[in-house]
Structure formats: structure tokens, C-alpha cells
Symmetry: C2
Subunit: 430 residues, 2 copies
Amino acid sequence: MRRKTGSDSLFIYTAHVNAEIVAIGSELLTPFRQDTNSLYLTEKLNQLGISVIFKVIVGDSLQQLTTAAAQAMARAELVIFMGGLGPTEDDLTREAVAASLGLPLRRDMSIVSALEKRFAERGWKMAPNNHKQADVIAGAAVLPNANGTAPGQWIAGRYDGAEKIVLLLPGPPHELKALFEEQCWPRLKAKIPEQHIATRVLKIAMMGESQCDARVAPIYKQFEDVETTILAGAGEIQLHLKTKAASLEQASARLNELVDKLEEELQDFVFSDNGDSLEQIVGYYLQMRNATLAVAESCTGGLLAERITSIGGSSRYFLGGAVVYSNELKTEFADVPAELIEMHGAVSKQVAVALAEGIRKRCRASFGIGITGVAGPTGGTPEKPVGLVFHALAGERGTEVVEKRFGGDRNRIRWFASQQALDMVRRKLM
Amino acid sequence: MRRKTGSDSLFIYTAHVNAEIVAIGSELLTPFRQDTNSLYLTEKLNQLGISVIFKVIVGDSLQQLTTAAAQAMARAELVIFMGGLGPTEDDLTREAVAASLGLPLRRDMSIVSALEKRFAERGWKMAPNNHKQADVIAGAAVLPNANGTAPGQWIAGRYDGAEKIVLLLPGPPHELKALFEEQCWPRLKAKIPEQHIATRVLKIAMMGESQCDARVAPIYKQFEDVETTILAGAGEIQLHLKTKAASLEQASARLNELVDKLEEELQDFVFSDNGDSLEQIVGYYLQMRNATLAVAESCTGGLLAERITSIGGSSRYFLGGAVVYSNELKTEFADVPAELIEMHGAVSKQVAVALAEGIRKRCRASFGIGITGVAGPTGGTPEKPVGLVFHALAGERGTEVVEKRFGGDRNRIRWFASQQALDMVRRKLM
């Protein structure tokens, strides 16, 4: 780097800043491991108004890494390298970035001392290979790593005539996140003119993607200044909204305007506009009403209970329930009459209702859910095909039941069934 | 591409082939979406003896995509482009690759007809923008796409003096996989000398990663010709083994030799050497013994039942059970005496045992599991801290109980507890 100014130069960006993220490590080029840090970094960078234009994954090869570094430096104003900062001979990020910048590495003896101290505190003797973690690119600011041995580095200056910021971050996610949040975020904020970016997420339950898009596209297309991303998962659609304005208030007001119109269109299909999950929303509603819930699951096999209890504090409103895979247990735990099962079959509207009412009574809960269906891959018949599920919700004032035919494999069918059941509770209580 | 030979030239590689995978799409540069196709492709390529040396993710920008294509072509013998083959103006892969190869695009009217037919069959009229999906790079073989509109393309020839293979594949995973498997795999096999590569996966339950590595490293290090990758997850370690030899028999024999030594060292910690999950193994053992299982879960809240029933056909050995979040339900469904809970607390060895024995009896199962613990984040006390879990397994000949203190968050604690319980059943039955 042919730099004119000090490491933390006073240069402040005025135009839009583009970033490239380079993930380093041969394990990231196997079928077993994948870079996930870049998703976190992208979210943070986007909050600062920085776009990610390239992501590169490269192995532990000095030559390939140096090439990747030079290419990244040529096309982005901010280049973030992740990984390859450890003590082994495979850890070559410092060397490659220094070479691509044309800058020397210098061993920082204060880092060596800190490393020695860290090892001594744990009663270990430091192996000499750890010294290379103290090699710092000339002009870089050292970013101490509270959660690991390898410190990060921050370099800001001119490179081939343009201002660049180069970051070296450790690969382990918890080290990277802590270091980025505490040390890189404030430095980036100081370099980049304040962006007033507001974001919102609308979550929609049990609606098809194309049906949803057909209803919302005419609305969000009127808001050209808002970036709208539609993500469709199993039984849930998320609308991610983002906009920039002269102030945060203005940006938020603009999003509120859009959110109001979207909610007016989608009505009660929207279950959250602040990031909460369906499990959480159901929990809030139950607590608000001082109500309790119990479940009797057949084809979902515990998935519904598992989702409800994945929320900390769910014991305040969830009592428990039964996984009634066999017919005998449907009778044993939810008092479903054996004759009813014989008459209508275990997968039937009647048995779903009996499960919901039976488990509600047995658990002395405000609400009871019963689910029975054919999750597949085997067990389907022409009358009761794979994917057919009955969901019943019993309350003080009666029981409702919903029949659905879900597509996909066993996991998808089970997931949709649990989603449908949660959504029935939500709609009942909202 | 200054080519000397026809599209499918007779050139066969003799040296090692390196691949670069380029994923295309601006959505892959957001915090919400991630390329996963490359993991699948890497696995397949590795089976052919091809290494992936670079992965690049680039947005829908003609300039950036053309740069990425040229850089990839310069460093790998096989370059795979995924995505950007659709009908919209954002779909620029064909144009960018053609430009980087210096080859023209030609509209293939037989593809246009096929597209029109596809639309007509669905009763739709084809919009004119779909025509661009029929643009083929000069000399490319067209790869029909049975699951979507955009066909893939295969180009093999000389580029800047070196033999290259270039693949254009659609982005949606089910389209990409079908197309790769049916059309690219045989073509690649014909170009690349047969590799005799054997792979095995050993799975190990409930052992620490460093403890495991300390025991197996001295063994696998003696097998320098075997590539060993250790992956550690929650309560499970996987040892991925891979080797190459003059014949598949030789390669397999070499792996068997290593597997035998590893199993001798790790003994019954190894639960699978053929890819089966712990849930599957437990299912096999129960079926083999003609035995049945029932569970009573407190802190895992249904997760154990959910994992067991995620396996198709689990109704043959899993009867069901109860999620006994409240103390009342521990009594109601598993006959745990209220006094026992009062005396020892709901999280205690005694209650775990009573849950296991009670649920076994109530469900008339061969084996009963009881789990009770503190999943957190709240509810911990100095005597019963967050992460403390009791697991009991009751059978005809008595009940065993295991106390563990798991670290991490609610999800991790619950996962470890379910893993521990499954492993107890496995060890009991093996």
C-alpha cells in the first residue's frame, strides 16, 4: 500500500462504499463446512449503508490467497478477510495481505507478551509457532481478541490511488462477532457518513408465496425508495423492508407507511412486524390471556411441543401433553374412545377433535390441540394420502378443526402441520 | 475461446483437475440467502478426484460477472457457473461467460420451440423475455432442464492455450442436482481418468472433540494416504475418511484397515460407520430386538420424541409418550408421586427414574425414558444450575440413570439431553 497518511487517516467516504468478503480456509472448500460469518457481516455492513458486492472463499494457499487479496483490493473500498490468523503453517492471511499491499510484516512484541501471559494464565507453555500471530502489517491498528489468541488488524489508507479499508478478522464466529462489534463497527462508523437506514420484517403465516406476492407487489412497487425482499419458507413468508432517508425518523415513517398498507392488505395473515417467531407470538397471547395450552400429537411426533418449549419461560403457559403414536396411547392419554378410532380411522376429523378435547380435559388446560395425519413416506391410502393432516383446537367454547393436504417429504409435512396448529392458536387469541 | 477442436473434444485430462464454482445472484449477497449448491457440487466433484480451489459469489452485474468469469477461467480447469440463466434482465450469466470466452451467443430455435411447448402445456402464453433462455454460447452443448425453463450449457475446449471445461447450471437446487447428475456427471467421467476413491464416515456419540482427537490422531496420522476430516457437532463427532488407490477394492481395503484400528481404539463410542444417524441406529436396534420405546420428557419438551419420529416407519417401535412440563402432568401421565417431586424436586435423579418407569408401565413399552433438567436461561439455582439434566432408562431388568451438566444455551442443552438419552438406548441394546 503506497500510503500518504497515517494508519487511521482522516479520510471520510462520501460516495457509496462497496465491500468484498474473503473467507479463508481449505475446510471451507470441502462438502462439510460453509462460511456463515459473511451473513452476519453483510447484515452489519448493510446497516451502515455498505453493500457487499463479492464474496470469495479461498483455501490455505499463499499464492491463491495473494491473488484473491489483490483482486478484492482492486474492486472494493472495504475488504474483509476472515480466518487464517492462527498459529499453524496453514495460517497465511497476514503474509498474503501484506504481499498484496506491498507492505512488510512486523512482529509486535507487545502481542507476544500478551500471548505468553494468556498461555501462562492457563498453566500452559506457549509453543514458538504462536509468535507468528504477533506479525502485524506495517501501519495496521491491532484489534485485540478477547475470545482467542489471534488478534485482528485494521488498515486504512490509500492503495493504488484509492482510499481502502482492509480488515483481518479471526474465523471462529464468536471471536469474529465480538471483535467486529466492539472494535470495527465504531471505526467504520467514523469513516462512513451516517446513514439513516430503517428496516422492518413482516412475517406472514400459512399463505402461498405467489398468492402473497400477487397481493403485496402492487403496494411495495409504489414505494420505489424501499428495498423489499420476499423470503418464503415452510408455511411462513417474510417481507424484509429497508429504506434510507435524511433522518432515521423519516426512514422509519416511510416504512411505517408501507407496513400499514401491507397489513391492511394482508390483514390477519401477518403475525409479526418486529421479528418475533410464531412460537413467541403464541406464547405472548397465551400469557396475555392468562391461558394455558396442552397438545396431543400423532404425526408431528413431538415437534409442536418442541417448538413451543423452545421458547424460554414457556412453562408459564405450556403444561405439556402427549405424543400418541399408537392407537392405544390415544385412548390412554387423551381418552379417545377405541370405537371412534375403529369407526373413522386414526387419521380423521373425529379423532383430531377427540384428541384436542381429551388432552385439554386431562391436562386441565384452557386450550387443547390435537393433530393426526399421514406424514409418510409410507402409510398413505387413496382415501387418506400422505400429507393429509387434521388439526383441532379445543377451548371452553367448542372445538374447531382444519383439514389440510400438505406436499413434500415427511419433514416438510410435519413442519407445516405444526405451523398450522400454532397459527390456529394465534388466530383464536388475537 | 480460441478453440481447435469440436465442443466435445477428445481431450482427456491426465494431471489433477481443479475446479472453481461461481454462484450468481444478488440475493446471495444479502444477509438472508446463502449458496448451498456448492456443497453438493463439491461432494460430487471430489468423488471424481476434482478439487475445488475457489468459490466466488457475485451479484447480477454484467461487469462484475464478466470479471469473475475471466478470473475463474484463468485459474481452474473446470469452472461451474450456477444461476443467472432465467428470463429476466437480471439473468446475465450467458452474456458474461460468452464475453469472457470471446465467443458469440446464438439463439437456438429448438429451445425456443421447447419453451413454447412447455408454456402451452400449462395453458400459458410465453412472454417474449423467455426467448433469451435459448441463447447458447457458440460450441456449447445444450443440457435440457427437466425441472425448469432454463437449460444448462456444457463447453469443453481450449482457452488461452489450456483445456477447460465450463458449465452453466440453473440456480434452483432441485434443477441443478438433476441436471448435474444426469448430464454433467457422465460427461465429466468421460473427460477425467477414472479415480478409485473410497470414502467412509465414522460417527461417535457423546465424546469431547479434543478427547477424541487425542485418541485417534496417532492412528490416522499413520495413514498418510488417507485424508481425515474431523467434524464436531453437538454430542456427535464425525470422522470423514477418504483415500485413492489403483483400484476401488484397494482403496476400500485401505479404509477398512484404518476403520478397524479406529473402532478398536474408540470401541463402543462409535455408533455408525455407514452414515446412519443416532435416531436410525436406535430404531434398528429396537426393531432387531422386537422391542418398543416410550418417553416422558420434561426439559427436552418433545425434542426426543420428535427426533425418534423423524425416521419414517418409527411407529413400528415407538409408541409415544408424554411431555410433562408441569408437575401435575408428571403425575397424571407417568404416575410420578407428588410427594417424590416435593421431596427431591422436579429436577432430580429420583424423578427421572420415576418418569422412565412410569411411562414404560403406562405405555406397556419394553423401554421407558425419563428426562428432567434445567434448560434455562432462567430457573437455575446453585444446587440445580442451568444445564443440569437427569436421564433415566427403564427396562425389564431395572433402571439406569445418568446425570450430566451441559454447557451452552437452551437449544444446545436440550439437544445434548436428547442425544444422551438416545445414546443410552443404543448402548443398552447393542
